[in-house]
């Protein structure tokens, strides 16, 4: 699936929630619960995403030229939020991740339910993922 296709899928899923805030929050937490836990060993200072209010850890690996992320958080909602990003970006090429336009955020009305403080945190997660993508892209270019 492309980045756009996953986004459209997510938009579709959220539209079923019909704007009910409680259901939306429950749904996000459920998504978080489905995200496999990160090994405790990875939950280091180094892997923390700066700028999030809750703690978010993230690592990335390149397999066959595509990126795969693992992420975790100490809060259930944030874990659910980061799981959306993992789902969208996993298996995509560094280039596509770098160029991705994340239109799903405004389409699902993310701002309404995450608020300014989590918004900044969410932006930091995206930035971190794009940084990983940039790093691997550069590495690839240097070694090729």
């Amino acid at each position: 699936m492309t980045i756009s296709q996953t986004q459209d899928e997510i938009i579709n899923e959220f539209s079923l929630l019909d704007g009910d805030m409680e259901m939306t929050v429950f749904y996000i937490m459920e998504l978080g619960q489905k995200l496999s836990d990160m090994k405790e060993a990875y939950k280091t200072e180094d892997n923390i995403v700066k700028g999030c209010q809750s703690k978010v850890w993230m690592v990335a690996n390149l397999k066959n030229g595509n990126l795969y992320f693992e992420a975790d958080s100490n809060t259930a909602i944030t874990k659910g939020l980061v799981s959306l990003l993992v789902r969208i970006f996993n298996g995509q090429s560094p280039e596509d991740i770098l160029n991705a336009d994340l239109y799903f955020m405004s389409k699902i009305g993310m701002e309404r339910f995450i608020g300014t403080q989590r918004s900044n945190g969410f932006a930091s997660m995206i930035k971190q993922m794009k940084l990983y993508a940039l790093a691997y892209k550069t590495k690839k270019e240097m070694t090729s």
Partner: protein, 414 residues
């Protein structure tokens, strides 16, 4: 009448109609506002006082002789008188308008501290203080090479007075304690704390942020040296509050800020300062909000603080009962004597998740460290969820809180 010991039940539903903000839906549910320790809501009369001031009387005060300036000055000074009565100060000039508790504490730390602290002196605070009653003392201690001592907090959230007795000494210059804790709700035995301090000739500052809307205050009976209040936590507007200080102390303290109002005469060679309270009110004050604060005082007076406190105590007891029944919930702060504040944590669930989940149901609580990180450190937690009450809250709202928590606990614990 603050001498009443009995209380009259209040008509809470009628009181609620005076608060326009309560009449709204949040996320499709009626708003349940339980974040009153952070700031509480304003009755219509306070809002109307602001409108009326700006629509009829707005003018800069004290220096003007025209009619609007007269009216504004008079109304501004009337709040000073009302506040004097509200806390039973001996002299009206002992009431200084500030932005709120934070500025009041900083004023004392900076002015009194800078003038009277010396190297090796000690200041005592407690382990349950708000950052606003810690950091100003850290700053001045750092500057003066003085030391900050801390009264420990017991497991249930009370001050260990026996340790306090041992901490205080000839080196102690200031004791700064809150009347009631914003994280735990504990009402501290400030009369006893003050008496002990005075027996060592130590000056005491009381942070009354969490007391002013809930506990009768008599600064003369308490004999405290400084008392600090924020308007926005007592049904009044944001941006104002007071520092009460004993006249003798205020008079010998140097000014805090310099500027208009606080001077008698300015020349480049020599400037002489105005009398108190004006010496400490440099610049154009927050005129409108000070004037509207008077309505908040009347609101509290008319209901009667004892009656408000009785209602809030009932809500607190009910909250304790309901929350205790929910699995995995652990109450933080279970002192015998409390204002209507209840902190709690839920085992294995982050307070942010609970806060956000409750907000999804229209329920506003506060989550986090509540600007009391040292206290959180003592409990070994990062933060709590805190429900806190004002007079307009109801048992039904507590039910909704409990139901919300039950739902999230069920969801995340299965």
């Amino acid at each position: 009448m603050s001498t009443l010991t009995a209380h009259t039940p209040l008509d809470i539903l009628k009181i609620r109609t005076q608060f326009p903000v309560l009449n709204q839906q949040v996320n499709g549910k009626p708003l349940v506002y339980l974040d009153n320790a952070a700031t509480n809501q304003k009755p219509k009369r306070v809002i109307d006082a602001l409108t009326s001031y700006y629509e009829k009387d707005n003018a800069n005060i004290h220096r003007g002789i025209h009619t609007l300036a007269e009216r504004a000055t008079k109304a501004y000074e009337q709040t000073r008188h009302a506040m004097q009565e509200f806390i039973h100060a001996k002299h009206v000039e002992e009431i200084i308008f500030t932005r709120g508790v934070t500025e009041s504490v900083n004023l004392v730390a900076s002015s009194y501290g800078r003038a009277f602290l010396n190297e090796g002196d000690e200041i005592i605070v407690s382990g349950m203080e708000h950052h606003s009653n810690i950091v100003p003392w850290q700053i001045i201690c750092n500057e003066k090479k003085a030391t900050l001592k801390v009264i420990p907090v017991t497991e249930i959230g009370e001050l260990d007075i026996e340790v306090y007795r041992k901490l205080i000494s000839d080196k102690t210059k200031i004791v700064a304690i809150n009347h009631a804790s914003n994280s735990l709700g504990t009402i501290n035995p400030i009369k006893e704390i003050i008496d002990i301090a005075h027996s060592h000739h130590v000056v005491v500052l009381i942070d009354g942020a969490q007391a002013s809307a809930h506990i009768p205050i008599d600064v003369q009976e308490l004999d405290c040296d400084f008392y600090c209040i924020s308007s926005h936590k007592m049904y009044g507007p944001t941006g104002t509050g007071i520092l009460y200080g004993k006249k003798e102390l205020l008079e010998k303290m140097p000014p805090y800020m310099g500027g208009g109002e606080m001077i008698k005469e300015v020349t480049f060679a020599k400037t002489t300062y105005n009398d108190i309270p004006y010496k400490f009110e440099a610049g154009t004050p927050n005129i409108a909000d000070v004037i509207a604060l008077n309505e908040a005082i009347s609101f509290i007076n008319e209901l009667g603080k004892e009656n408000i406190a009785a209602h809030e105590a009932e809500l607190l007891a009910y909250t304790v009962k309901k929350l205790s029944a929910i699995p995995h919930v652990k109450l933080i702060g279970t002192a015998k004597n409390k204002v209507g504040v209840q902190s709690f944590v839920v085992e294995g669930i982050h307070h942010f998740d609970i806060g956000q989940m409750l907000d999804a149901r229209g329920i506003a609580v506060r989550t986090g460290h509540h600007c009391t990180q040292p206290l959180m450190d003592q409990y070994g937690i990062e933060g709590t969820v805190r429900a806190s009450f004002s007079v307009y809250n109801t048992k039904d709202e507590v039910d909704q809180l409990a139901e919300g928590i039950e739902r999230i606990v069920k969801f995340l614990k299965q």
